[in-house]
């Protein structure tokens, strides 16, 4: 394998000798024929198609379903490395929940001068409707996907805290299922921690957050925008795995002070709603009046304790890219400890000095929209053409506060199976976190996204990225 020593290769480090977590897998790999791996790769695709693990791309006809490419070489993390990450994630997620409670109540952090008031007041993600309201057990983000990148042996950075409706967890589970089918022998040889507990853990956590109005076993439902949504597969997969209802807005209405779903026998109240639609579409009476996806009046029922909505409305204020740069202060303010996980250095283009620096160094930086996601509307300086840089400069000057910039990180690589054999490609990692009254749980594994194009740093599936199974070892 051709290894570029500028980047940390998770299998080979900076050299050519296999790192310990890959020792056993490497020994297996040495006995494998590349031809067979390619054949398995083909079988994985058949498996994904037959199972219907597809996503829809916005802007293409609704019937077009695409596959996210799956790479058969696993990404392996040692138990020790993982435990360190978990401590950092646990701390960060607790801080996010404390921050949300504070922001929607006394706003101590602003009074203490640790973050500017206008950052909250002028932010669309801040929902005044949530002010003064406390969700059950003060949990705002029951489900979080923390995006991490690695740049060295012990260097991990948080890229983004996805605290609204993080997606991709079905890939964590289906990728493992695929690997178990293709390479069962690997799992007898190598002690890989199980990820399959995720749906049961999530179901328990959701049930534990049922509102006061709930009777007996809480009724849990997932709210999906419908079969044409890009993540519909995941919504139905999770509902199926947890054994809960999968509902759309048109199945729901308010009956006797509860949010109820239309069943074959009449309307039945829902206790916990795991919604997979954005805040804006949740309640046309409170937010976007044109939304057909939500439930008119649900916010009133929520505030009256008639239903638990997960994640809580208004959590977007904690994972906004403008807030991101304050995360080290936020973690320290609420936990009293320095943040265990590092933030990527971030330039807020709203500040004149930062903007000047960003404009001077555009070709070295990654620039993102404050409210963007999915890799849309971002600039990767080192990979951009002169024309692209010029176009972006104009955008930056026109609306500086819409952007933040970060240095281009030397993302770690993991080998993929390419046409020319094993070849390193850049990856990121999204572990899945569940918050319940009994604590924070991080499933040992996650979604590894991989940029399939040589040299590319953009891992988003909408931009040609693929995925890998992520192994955390028992060690």
């Amino acid at each position: 394998m051709n290894n570029d020593s500028r980047f940390f290769n998770e299998m080979l480090g900076h050299g050519s000798e296999r790192r310990a977590p890959y020792a056993e897998y490497g020994a297996w790999l040495d006995g494998e024929d590349v031809q067979r791996l390619h054949q398995m790769s083909g079988e994985a695709e058949v498996f994904f198609r037959r199972t219907g693990i597809t996503f829809n791309v916005y802007g293409e006809p609704a019937s077009t379903e695409r596959l996210i490419p799956f790479d058969v070489v696993p990404r392996i993390i040692s138990g020790r490395e993982w435990d360190k990450l978990v401590k950092g994630i646990d701390q960060r997620v607790r801080a996010i929940n404390a921050f949300l409670h504070d922001i929607y109540h006394r706003q101590e952090i602003i009074k203490a001068g640790r973050i500017p008031a206008e950052l909250i007041a002028k932010n669309d993600a801040y929902l005044p409707q949530m002010a003064g309201f406390s969700p059950p057990s003060n949990i705002y983000t029951h489900i979080v996907g923390v995006d991490l990148v690695r740049t060295g042996q012990d260097e991990f950075y948080v890229l983004e805290d996805n605290a609204r409706t993080p997606s991709g967890v079905s890939y964590m589970l289906e990728n493992r299922e695929t690997m178990l089918q293709l390479f069962p022998e690997l799992f007898t040889r190598i002690p890989v921690k199980r990820v399959q507990t995720y749906p049961a853990t999530l179901h328990r956590a959701l049930s534990a957050c049922a509102p006061a109005a709930a009777r007996n076993a809480p009724v849990v439902a997932i709210l999906t925008p419908g079969i044409h949504n890009s993540a519909y597969y995941e919504h139905s997969f999770l509902a199926d795995q947890m054994g809960v209802y999968l509902v759309e807005g048109q199945d729901l209405r308010i009956v006797d002070g509860r949010v109820a779903m239309r069943t074959t026998r009449g309307y039945t109240p829902i206790d916990v709603l795991y919604r997979r639609i954005d805040d804006d579409f949740l309640d046309p009476l409170t937010f976007n009046p044109h939304s057909l996806l939500g439930v008119p009046g649900i916010m009133d029922i929520y505030r009256a304790g008639g239903i638990t909505i997960t994640n809580a409305p208004g959590t977007g204020i904690s994972d906004d890219k403008a807030i991101y740069s304050y995360m080290p202060e936020i973690v320290e303010f609420y936990t009293g400890q320095p943040a265990l996980l590092k933030n990527v250095e971030t330039y807020r283009c709203s500040e004149p000095d930062s903007l000047a620096y960003v404009l001077d160094n555009l070709s070295e930086l990654v620039v993102k929209e404050v409210h963007g996601s999915g890799g849309y509307g971002m600039l990767v300086g080192p990979a951009a053409s002169t024309a692209e840089l010029a176009a972006f400069e104009a955008k930056l000057r026109a609306r500086p506060s819409n952007y933040i910039a970060q240095p281009t990180l030397a993302l770690s690589t993991v080998p993929i199976l390419s046409d020319a054999g094993l070849a390193p490609r850049h990856v990121d990692l999204r572990p899945y976190v569940i918050v319940s009254p009994s604590g924070v749980e991080v499933t040992p594994g996650g979604l590894t996204r991989v940029a399939l194009k040589e040299g590319s740093l953009v891992v988003n599936s909408s931009q040609g990225g693929g995925t890998k199974d992520t192994w955390v070892l028992e060690d």
Partner: protein, 313 residues
């Protein structure tokens, strides 16, 4: 269960059943067209009317040639009642009710759709038609097999089965209606080879040629065929069989819900009225009249089921 889910299951299995029945109709029509070229166009025309698609066909084609009819019924995705469109619709409903299905049923449905997409990508030449029809029937059999082998016998199963039998009853009724003139006693003169072929076609369109021989011997007679397809409770595509299955599924639901639905009353009343008649009564009052009435009642029942179980609100 959500009303929407019940509706999705019901329609998923209606579409699958209709698609399979259309494949049978084409198979039967093709056999006649193959052996009696003089009546080929008439036969294809009657296939199109049996499918209830005359208007849609005439909007797209001038002549009832085998190429036109086969293309229209199998692969025309601009036509919602083509086998391809119905298979897509069945899959789309299956995706919607994914949580109610076992992995096996979903995968069989998904795979059926994937196979048909590639099978029907290009026009089907006459010589490839038998293979194509066989493939279509095989894949719907796989879905049915997965349903019977893996699904819990609960309300989910009941709604799936009701979709199947409402659709099947309509299909058998339509076949009888379009072909009723060959079954009328006045024209059933024995010995004409064409009549024998027509009768054979009717039996083939409901996959009942063998079953009929086992019960009634090898000499087909008009009244016996009609009797077989309307009243024989052992014959899985007869009207009486479909009626009794709908009754029993509705009765299971009444048990499970501890509440008797209005559509169960209606369904049982319809069965009772049917049981009071014999094939002689049917012919005396007119087969066409009987069938038209049956189709109308079947539609009323279908609407009542949708309403009672809140498919749409």
């Amino acid at each position: 269960m959500l009303g929407k889910t019940a509706g999705g299951l019901y329609w998923m299995f209606r579409y699958l059943e209709r698609s399979e029945n259309t494949a049978r109709l084409v198979d039967a029509g093709f056999r006649i067209a193959l052996t009696h070229s003089s009546v080929a166009e008439d036969e294809w025309k009657s296939v199109i009317s049996t499918a209830g698609q005359k208007i849609a066909f005439n909007e797209r084609h001038d002549r009832y040639t085998s190429a036109n009819v086969v293309d229209f019924l199998l692969r025309d995705i601009s036509h919602p009642a083509s086998i391809m469109s119905m298979t897509e619709a069945a899959r789309s409903n299956a995706r919607m009710v994914r949580t109610a299905l076992t992995r096996e049923v979903w995968e069989a449905t998904n795979e059926c759709c994937m196979v048909l997409r590639s099978l029907l990508e290009k026009p089907i030449a006459d010589r490839d038609l038998p293979f194509a029809l066989r493939t279509i029937r095989q894949h719907s059999a796989l879905v049915r097999g997965a349903l019977h082998g893996t699904m819990l016998r609960n309300e989910i199963f009941n709604f799936a089965r009701m979709g199947t039998f409402i659709e099947r009853a309509e299909s058998t009724a339509r076949i009888l209606d379009v072909k009723y003139y060959v079954l009328l006693p006045s024209v059933s003169f024995v010995g004409s080879s064409l009549d024998n072929v027509q009768w054979e076609t009717i039996l083939r369109s409901v996959s009942a040629a063998t079953a009929y021989r086992q019960v009634h011997g090898s000499e087909p007679a008009a009244q016996t065929i009609a009797d077989f397809l309307i009243f024989d409770k052992r014959m899985p595509r007869s009207l009486a069989f479909c009626r009794s299955k709908i009754n029993s599924n509705l009765a299971y639901l009444a048990d499970e819900y501890n509440e008797r639905s209005a559509c169960l009353d209606l369904s049982e009343a319809m069965s009772l009225r049917m049981a009071e008649q014999s094939i002689d009564d049917v012919f005396e009052h007119g087969l066409h009249y009987f069938i038209q009435d049956f189709i109308r009642q079947n539609n009323i029942l279908s609407h009542k089921i949708e309403e009672d179980f809140r498919f749409n609100g």
